[in-house]
Subunit: 166 residues, 2 copies
DNA sequence: CACAATTCAATTGTGCACAACTGAATGGCC
DNA sequence: GGCCATTCAGTTGTGCACAATTGAATTGTG
């Protein structure tokens, strides 16, 4: 871990170094994301949920019943991911899916009794996760803010490169 | 509910509901990770690589030929993920897989000429990614350090809960 | 040497992410 | 009213992550 002193200034960054694995922010992010997955796998086992399923439940607990489209907007997921996931939640008895009466294209995702009741048991999850991080609340908040900045910038960059830059 | 003071009585934390989606660090991390995936998808399209394939190539460029096991240690991936991925890289002509002569259990992953040559074209990737983040080098390094701390803490927590606490 | 435990890559099975497409329902516009 | 673009959920196909298992090769121990 020595070498590579970018003296403080940012301008002099030898190109050769950039490919170094440990320099890759993406790698760290990816690793952290998967490490989180591992913790959630353990913590959520009692509830019988996967991590993406848990995120869906969080949205439903917070916002109540939602059409698939809205659910996807909250989670940045499309129907290709949500449709099978919701089927599994339905098979587990946590949600029902009902075609909307006023718009037959839309499917309403509704919590069942059992799905609603699960919230009580889930209240402990975030605290256990926070403890596992070893970060205090302010640190978590600061990191989260940085990550959200990053996401915003990256989405903008993609939009520019694929959609807008024409 | 909530408001139970935290691991050290850290400040008040007025967060009434920890279940709120936007409080979830995991969500931010997950979103950032997928946003990165989107940028890489665009940037790597020219090379014909996916992001995990690119990570494998990075390791090989840095460390030279490696057995599957070592590759997995660098990337935190097991053979269940690597075996099919390496087959695709082999089909693309970027690597060869050869059973080790001195240990027939092991499979050496070797760069082909074409795989080695690709490095030149890949040199531009990290810069394009860095630009897309909108962060300068110091910010990136700071964020990366935080993420690595996080990963270390999370891995330790999982190990404690599943392996060590016996 | 024999044999049990371990190591290693591969395979199987489940679940997620995402692009591309399908097909039905809707809404705007003449 | 009839037509066409759009919206929405679902399906298909590819690729990754990971747990669990398999089977061959190797190592450790007596």
């Amino acid at each position: 871990m020595a070498r590579k002193s970018y003296p403080g200034g940012m301008s002099t960054t030898p190109t050769t170094d950039w490919l170094r694995l440990d320099q890759q922010i993406c790698f760290s992010l990816n690793a952290a994301s998967r490490a989180f997955g591992g913790v959630y796998r353990v913590v959520l086992k009692d509830l019988g949920l996967t991590y993406p399923q848990y995120l869906v439940m969080l949205v439903l607990w917070e916002h109540g019943d939602l059409p698939v489209k809205k659910l996807g907007e909250h989670l940045r997921l499309d129907s290709g991911t949500l449709s099978p996931l919701l089927k599994r939640l339905e098979a587990a008895g946590l949600v029902r899916r009902e075609r909307s009466a006023r718009d037959e294209r839309s499917v309403e995702v509704r919590l069942t009794e059992e799905g609603t009741a699960m919230r009580e048991r889930a209240l402990e999850v975030p605290r256990r996760i926070a403890t596992a991080t070893g970060f205090d609340v302010d640190e978590i908040r600061a990191l989260r803010a940085r990550l959200d900045d990053l996401t915003t910038a990256l989405d903008a960059a993609v939009a520019e490169e694929t959609g807008g830059g024409r």
